[in-house]
Symmetry: C2
Subunit: 310 residues, 2 copies
């Protein structure tokens, strides 16, 4: 069984770490959101690719979930002293990765190639693929106007009220050319924010077409526990977009291709209405504070996936 | 008397510091070489502007003459670990300046404006002007092919044999538009490398035309002491270009507009042949290891300048 794991940053990366511990490097491919990518201070920054890379390299900051462990902040402090734009926190080590990626892109390498070069340098064995090498930009329509993702997410700290979300360029973006869909038998949608982190990937037409194929099992792990997201603005965004913040809403969101759904053990009763949608549903522990919990959820996910077929 | 000081990086900045201590901010303008500017890792780097800015802000590294005092190097070490291009040493604090300048340029500000914003943030009162806001690129023709300045100077550490030097774009570059030549009564060419640091400025047609005007006194301080440059590749380059490494060669290099020339006290006997060229020449201490020496040479330069007229 070859697994395609679709993931955003922090939340999804936890399950990705579990999957990478359970599966060999030829058994899983991570397809990562690039809708948050942006240019800042001349540098090409890919937050979700970096979070996954740092997580798989086991050098990520456990407290924050993004960035590097034992980071120093001389650069951004100096930038602030100069009066420069210091709203995006860039650690001194993290910055080196952005600079190197920017250099590789300037030399004509693709984002896929740059990601691979960096992953190899950090001794990551598993394949990390940007969803596309074509630009996809997540854009938030809000009560203070249209905002690029990082302006919404970091600069304005998710405070503006979300009225809509667009994935600019996604309709023309080619799915990552290195992804050999013919080898994939299970797709796992990691517990990332559906609207901000997963949808920019799903908006790529070739991927959505693939997910609807009858022989491909698609399983999602809910990012919602007890009616709330563990982290990030999922709860707020869902409310502002007029959705109920519950597992059924998430399952419905993916319904046109979803085969299986995993809710947290605390939400086992949510499975019944989801089963009625024709989506198999199980309840497992989805709160992953430890490596053991990540590995266990990865095993549960793969065991469940093995039972699924369309 | 309003002074225009033409300068490159390390050597020239020493006299510039002296001039800034002797003259008020409305009495001197520093016109700085941009031929070494380059884009690296997505950032716009202006080495000579930065050396002068750090020097006038009194935060430069005294040992190296470039970069900032008490610098840390986490970024460049991490970049090296990643396998990235770490040949150009970028300190964590220094990097913040490059990033901020890049951001300002991206927003449509000119290099002059960016330089001013940064100088103000560092509490520098004197005017630091890039020679031009148009690109001028110093290019070295060498035995291993044509090299951009930083590739010659840093990456190859001045090892290739110099066969010629070009200032690409200088013939079309407009002299800095904020420079009001009508107010200038004395021009001081600081002791920077004539071929690498001063000529890219002098190659701007409007400046050269101004220097040849009869009412403008132009004074140069020699970068040569006892037949050698104190620092950098001046000696090597002059030899490779077929010049004698002596004060007379430097004076001749500037002869078509030079009114006065200052050689080091150790080279007083060099004054005679230079006087015969019709250039007034005096000998003073030009070795500036201390602030006192910089101030003294600035005073000597201004005293001498006051006696000059074309």
């Amino acid at each position: 069984m070859r697994v395609l794991a679709i993931t955003g940053g922090v939340g999804g990366a936890k399950l990705a770490v579990g999957l990478a511990k359970v599966l060999q490097s030829n058994e899983v491919v991570f397809l990562v959101n690039t809708g948050d990518d942006f240019r800042h201070l001349g540098l090409h920054i890919s937050p979700d690719l970096d979070t996954l890379t740092y997580s798989l390299a086991n050098i990520s900051c456990p407290a924050k979930g993004w960035g590097r462990r034992d980071e120093s902040w001389t650069f951004v402090k100096t930038l602030q002293d100069l009066g420069g734009p210091s709203w995006f926190q860039l650690g001194d080590q993290d910055l080196a990765l952005h600079a190197y990626r920017t250099q590789l892109l300037t030399e004509g390498r693709s984002l896929t190639e740059a990601t691979q070069v960096i992953a190899e340098a950090l001794d990551v064995k598993h394949s990390i693929l940007p969803a596309s090498d074509d630009p996809v930009a997540t854009t938030v329509e809000s009560d203070i106007g249209e905002l690029s993702f990082q302006h919404y997410f970091v600069k304005h700290q998710c405070r503006p009220k979300v009225q809509g979300i667009r994935y600019v360029g996604a309709d023309r973006a080619r799915l990552n050319l290195r992804l050999d869909l013919a080898t994939i038998s299970l797709v796992v949608i990691c517990p990332s924010n559906p609207y901000l982190s997963v949808d920019p990937i799903l908006a790529i037409p070739d991927l959505r077409k693939f997910l609807r194929k009858p022989n491909v099992a698609v399983l999602a792990v809910s990012p919602i526990v007890r009616g709330r997201a563990l982290k990030g603005p999922t709860t707020k965004i869902m409310t502002e977009l007029g959705y109920n913040v519950d597992n059924e809403t998430i399952a419905l969101h993916y319904a046109d291709f979803l085969t299986g759904f995993i809710v947290d053990g605390a939400d086992a009763t949510d499975c019944d209405p989801i089963q009625e949608l024709g989506i198999k549903c199980i309840a497992r522990n989805t709160v992953m504070h430890t490596t053991e919990a990540r590995v266990q959820l990865a095993r549960d996910t793969l065991d469940f996936g093995a039972t699924l077929s369309k």
